[in-house]
Symmetry: C2
Subunit: 373 residues, 2 copies
């Protein structure tokens, strides 16, 4: 393991300072409805005890919105709180769920001073984030991500949203939660597929920003991290600090933040069309982007082999039987469209992403790499 050799964020001191900050901040907003002026990035708090959580999110003003699966695994963890169950899965990230939840919030007596606590994966934090941005024109929220994917990526950065028809996250906002509480205990019951799913984003951070992550990943494998949660926490904190740095510099995605979409432009289209898990779709999207980086940025062709091996090592797919024209059609409706071209993230080299505009025909070249033969 190369982990010890790599300088990482000093998690403990960092988290205590942030915790105190947050406590003060939350105490100060007793009677004030929240606004859009939340700090960026929202504080990430690691391994909070349930007692600390109750200080930050007092049961009398908090309502917990919890993924049904998580509730089955941790039925008593949030006792003392009012709990709403959120139906799991991407297919429920719709306005229908939002409407249902807002009716239920009213029935539970929610008001403008309420704090909505989202406990679940990216679907739940996306839904609750948008709900909190909209409910009574904005109430406070906090996220407790329970999957690898949500802990290293989806719960961070303030993007939220729902799907409209085939269009992922077509309606949503960018708005930071009050804080994000990251506890590794939730990972203990996570299925292997969900672990792999999250590692796609960890691999992404390596390629766009931090080759040390690639080296850490290459020297280990998925079962190792599943068994050694404290080692995983170090890797995870490394990823969150990258994301937080980028989001702080460019909250509304005018430039730098676009780099976090590496693998996601093709990925989102594949995810929607073939109902792939997000991480599987992003893995394929990264392969397509690497091929396009070879063509347009002169990326060393050995990179593709390096990525393919890594994907296999973390139980992620490297190819798919796909209909290129259908994928391109959906992709051209992506939010990242800019006239007839699409903002596309390419690599100059491992650890160095660049933003380029590619046309439909140029993107098509990347798709052939991942076409299963």
């Amino acid at each position: 393991m190369k982990l010890a050799k790599v300088p990482i964020v000093q998690v403990c001191a960092y988290q205590i300072a942030l915790l105190q900050d947050s406590l003060q901040k939350l105490a100060g907003m007793n009677d004030q409805p929240p606004t859009y002026g939340q700090p960026v990035p929202a504080p990430c708090l690691y391994e909070l005890t349930q007692e600390e959580m109750q200080q930050l999110a007092p049961p009398e003003r908090s309502i917990v919105l919890m993924d049904e699966h998580v509730f089955q695994h941790f039925p008593t963890k949030w006792s003392g709180y009012r709990i709403l169950l959120v139906p799991p899965g991407e297919q429920n990230k719709t306005f229908c769920t939002l409407e249902l939840l807002s009716e239920q919030l009213l029935a539970l007596g929610a008001n403008r001073q309420s704090l909505l606590v989202a406990v679940g994966g990216g679907v739940v934090t996306d839904l609750v984030g948008y709900l909190a941005a909209s409910f009574m024109r904005g109430v406070a929220c906090a996220f407790v991500p329970t999957t690898v994917l949500a802990q290293v990526d989806a719960a961070l950065g303030g993007k939220n949203g729902i799907n409209v028809g085939l269009h992922k996250n077509m309606l949503g906002t960018i708005r930071q939660p009050e804080f994000i509480a990251i506890n590794r205990e939730y990972l203990a019951t996570l299925p292997d597929l969900e672990w792999a799913n999250g590692f796609a984003e960890i691999i992404k951070y390596g390629w766009i920003d931090d080759v040390a992550i690639l080296e850490i990943l290459e020297s280990s494998n998925l079962p190792y991290f599943q068994k050694n949660l404290s080692e995983f926490s170090l890797l995870s904190a490394r990823c969150t600090s990258i994301k937080n740095r980028i989001v702080a510099a460019d909250e509304f995605e005018n430039g730098e933040r676009k780099k976090l979409n590496f693998g996601h432009t093709v990925g989102h289209a594949l995810e929607t069309l073939y109902r792939l898990p997000h991480g599987h779709a992003v893995s394929l999207g990264m392969r397509a982007a690497l091929r396009l980086s070879e063509i347009h940025e002169g990326l060393d062709p050995s990179a593709d082999r390096r990525l393919a091996i890594m994907l296999q090592q973390y139980q992620l797919p490297t190819s798919l039987e796909l209909d290129e024209l259908q994928v391109l059609d959906l992709l051209m409706h992506d939010k990242k469209r800019n006239g007839t071209n699409i903002d596309f993230i390419l690599l100059e080299r491992a650890g160095k992403a660049v933003i380029r505009q590619l046309s439909r025909e140029e993107i098509r070249m990347g798709l052939s790499t991942i076409q299963a033969t």
Copy 2:
């Protein structure tokens, strides 16, 4: 007419300065998606020519979302623009309409650089405001209010939203448009009912902030303003400057802005339960609030007679056959709820509003005043 005696906003110089400001601002944001950092209040521009409008909202990046009724009256006014028709009426202020419009925006090629221009009454500006706040996580919008109500109130201040079930504006945001273009030509085809509807809000500004407005209103009547649109513009500009001043001081309604809800707490419940026009409901709500002001603030009882005469003068109702318990039940779910009490706007005197917390039973006392016998 007392209008000439009252100092009013110097509309011309004001609007030209703002127009130039806006032009520069919009020109500068060519490639940048809009954020939540819009200026407060958004500039109000009076009597823009269609040519000036095209400079501010270039047809190539703008999509006009227009009330169907307005389109029938002004079918060629927005020629050269891509136009989407919005179904009219409060019953269409739902997520269903929002979803439909977002699909249509995609079909028209909208992207993050698009500017959504809402042309219509408060329903359209509320819908399009929320759509713009959410579509692709936020695009720019501008409002062209076409009713008295929207020109003096609904289009100003950045509040937007949709109804969920019986709950008015349950989901929405507070977010300013790029600018608001107020043109009196749209009022020429407005039905009498809609004129009266808007005057309820004008009466409100008088009672909460500016007794001169009450004097202007008492010395005239509805047909006078319908025939003398330039006189109406002066009155309207007086109202918008009050609203803009209050919104600028308290965009997110932590205090001062709540005063604009005078008559609206009871009003919203009546509007929903009895499907009243907004202005009719607010008129009744103001009468109830005046009665409660007598009880709690020692308001001179002659005020109620003064308000009742004024409502009749402007073709607004003074009583209604209502089910008090049903009204109270709905009202206690209002966004303005604060524990078991509700933030309620009362008057110390004409022109001076105060925020108080009232209980269900206290509010009930106000309802008997407007009960039709």
